[in-house]
């Protein structure tokens, strides 16, 4: 078993990993930037070290600084969490080359699946349906126009080095393609260091369904069921559920089988997620595979009873999975709401600030993943995720009632959050009847914000 783990992340996911390690009697080192000095997550570690200034680029994203911290504090492994360096093949290789264990798949697998175009090719080779699109990267505007013409507009321009909803542009009409392509390339180059673009048909009114994968170093890969992450805003997930009520048993069997096929094709180790688009007609297509633990992993944990972070650490310790696919049971239904420090009434602008008071929900079937506390300073340097409220119920209906109850108990003062908006979604008929797609939140935003104002919740 690993002896001392450096957690190369911050906030609630750092706390999640630190807690799992502590339960396993594994020593931990937290790293932090100047802005996070003394933050709650740092106090949960055996020790913490400040490695750089507030800017993420010079702290959490600084590969040398992070590796240095791990080496100087005698760690034998690094857990990258999500975001930051978690899907950086170069960092995974650097970690390995310095004799440390990277808690995740190999650098080669990260690189392969991080190239979203190569991942599509892999899926296609495995006979997994992929979103209709270009056969590889697009060349110049003319070639792009030809592909888009064949697919039929609207189309999506996607950065091959993107992922996680970033580096995507919608092209509604032929006339826009050329300029959008140029902008997409520039943006991709700036954000991901690489301007390769591929094209996908834009599926209308899709659902986003993803399958959790666990693979060990003994050749075993299993799935932990799917999640429904359809409720999004600006391509970022807002509410997630497990299992996907919109996926009947037969579809569940096929999708999880295809997800495993992708994982086995690359000999996937550690935790990963295969993402699909589900059309209103019940067709599904592979989009990408993420080689990290995901924000919404708790909903899977609630329905399976499996501690995914613990499994990640065991797998990284070269231990085999203790359970087989047949041992994995799905009980009930879980929902997660992401509370962000943002202002829905003003374009969801991030709202840094200081929490005066807060009250978090608890009780039967409620789990809260957060490091928020009174006096917590939300700084402008990192993302705005403040807390994840997760509930479990015997079925979706009970989970919805429980989430409503939990949100009603939740209180933050001194800052602005999307709590009221989440509450409105939980009461909307579309959500209750599960008649949702990835555009539902944005389409109904004005109505919900109007209702919130009336309720004096904003």
């Amino acid at each position: 078993m690993l002896r001392r783990v450096l957690v190369a992340n911050r906030g609630e996911i750092a706390a999640r990993i630190l807690r799992a390690c502590r339960e396993m009697n594994i020593e931990t080192v937290a790293i932090c930037s100047e802005a996070d000095r003394g933050a709650l997550f740092t106090t949960l570690a055996t020790r913490s070290v400040c490695i750089g200034p507030a800017s993420a680029a010079q702290s959490y994203l600084d590969q040398q600084a992070v590796l240095n911290a791990a080496l100087l504090t005698g760690c034998d492994a690094i857990h990258p969490g999500f975001g930051f360096l978690s899907e950086n093949a170069e960092f995974a290789a650097l970690t390995r080359d310095n004799g440390l264990v990277f808690i995740g798949p190999s650098p080669e697998v990260i690189a392969l699946l991080g190239d979203k175009d190569a991942a599509r090719r892999l899926a296609r080779e495995q006979g997994i349906p992929v979103v209709p699109g270009s056969q590889g990267l697009v060349g110049d505007a003319e070639a792009a126009e030809q592909v888009a013409g064949q697919l039929g507009y609207p189309v999506l321009l996607k950065a091959a080095s993107g992922g996680g909803g970033r580096g995507i542009r919608v092209v509604a009409e032929p006339g826009e393609l050329s300029s959008q392509l140029a902008e997409a390339r520039a943006e991709a180059k700036a954000c991901f260091g690489n301007d390769d673009i591929y094209i996908e048909k834009l599926i209308t009114a899709p659902r986003h369904i993803e399958v959790q994968i666990l693979g060990d170093s003994h050749g075993n890969q299993i799935h932990l069921g799917e999640r429904d992450c359809t409720l999004q805003r600006n391509r970022q997930k807002v509410i997630e559920e497990a299992p996907a009520a919109a996926v009947p048993e037969e579809l569940h069997q096929r999708m999880t089988a295809d997800a495993l096929r992708a994982a086995r094709a690359v000999g996937y180790e550690n935790a990963g997620t295969v993402e699909f688009i589900l059309t209103p007609d019940g067709e599904y297509y592979f989009i990408e595979m993420n080689t990290r633990i995901q924000v919404e992993h708790p909903v899977t944990e609630m329905i399976t009873g499996i501690n995914i972070v613990r499994e990640q650490i065991r797998i990284a310790s070269a231990l085999p999975l203790e359970f087989s696919q047949a041992d994995v049971r799905f009980e009930g239904h879980a929902i997660e709401c992401r509370i962000n420090a943002e202002d829905p009434a003003h374009g969801f602008a991030p709202c840094p600030g200081t929490i005066e008071h807060l009250h978090l929900p608890s009780g039967f079937g409620v789990r809260v993943d957060t490091v928020a506390h009174p006096g917590y300073i939300i700084s402008p340097y990192y993302d705005s995720l403040l807390a994840k409220i997760i509930v479990h119920g015997r079925n979706r209906h009970e989970a919805v009632l429980r989430m409503r109850r939990a949100l009603e108990e939740t209180l933050f003062t001194g800052i602005t959050t999307n709590l009221g908006l989440l509450y409105m979604v939980l009461y909307s008929p579309d959500f209750l009847y599960n008649r949702i797609d990835t555009g539902t939140v944005e389409r109904n935003l004005d109505t919900m914000l109007g209702a919130l104002k009336e309720e004096v919740m904003l």
């Binding site: 055996t46 020790r47 100087l72």
Partner: protein
């Protein structure tokens, strides 16, 4: 008539537990309440959550936190030998700089967002003149006070240095980074301890600049 600010300063500087002041129909009472905290596993978290209301050390000597303390870093026997050349100068004596990092932040011009209770480096050293220039660690690494084991330290308390002079080295991943004096002046404090792990932003030296107005 004393202002509330003066009274608060008096309260702090004399470390009082209770101060009553009455004048001109106004009565002001300052009282220090001991906070009773029960914690099981995370003393640092408990202090943190009570916004530093507790007294005493928050994080102990880092070398005692790990099970293999002594064999690990930070307190380990460095190539220069334990407590070798140029240990933390100016220890003991004088007053205490309230927060090593807060001062470091101000000197570096970065946002003073250091939360209360973040004084992870409880180094006590001689009172520093507020106008002193603070030199903080630009990266995480092991401090070396001299070029080689046994040779003279680059800089010690009382010594005059010129802008650009090397004050110490910080080793990270086998590369030795020079920490240089940003201004010419006299070293007033040198908490940089040879062989110890410096975190980013830790105070290494304080310099009374030649150009400082006293």
């Amino acid at each position: 008539m004393r202002s509330p600010e003066e009274l608060a300063a008096l309260f702090e500087s004399h470390n009082l537990t209770r101060l009553e002041y009455e004048e001109g129909g106004v009565r002001l009472v300052l009282e220090r309440q001991p906070v009773n905290i029960q914690y099981l596993g995370y003393p640092a978290a408990a202090s943190h959550l009570t916004a530093g209301a507790t007294s005493g050390q928050l994080l102990g000597d880092a070398s005692t936190l790990f099970s293999d303390a002594g064999a690990g870093v930070d307190g380990r026997v460095s190539a220069f030998g334990a407590g070798g050349v140029g240990g933390a100068d100016g220890a003991g004596g004088g007053g205490t700089l309230v927060s090593n990092h807060a001062a470091g932040n101000q000197a570096a011009g970065s946002p003073s967002g250091s939360p209360v209770g973040s004084a992870a480096n409880n180094t006590t050293f001689s009172a520093i003149n507020p106008s002193d220039i603070l030199v903080t660690a630009p990266l995480l690494g092991i401090i070396y006070r001299s070029a080689e084991p046994g040779s003279e330290p680059y800089a010690t308390v009382g010594e005059h240095v010129n802008a650009g002079d090397v004050l110490c080295l910080i080793e990270a991943m086998k590369t030795f980074n020079q920490v240089t004096a940003p201004v010419g002046g006299t070293i007033t404090a040198a908490p940089a301890e040879n062989g110890r792990l410096a975190e980013y932003g830790d105070l290494l030296f304080a310099i009374a600049a030649d150009s400082a107005v006293r």
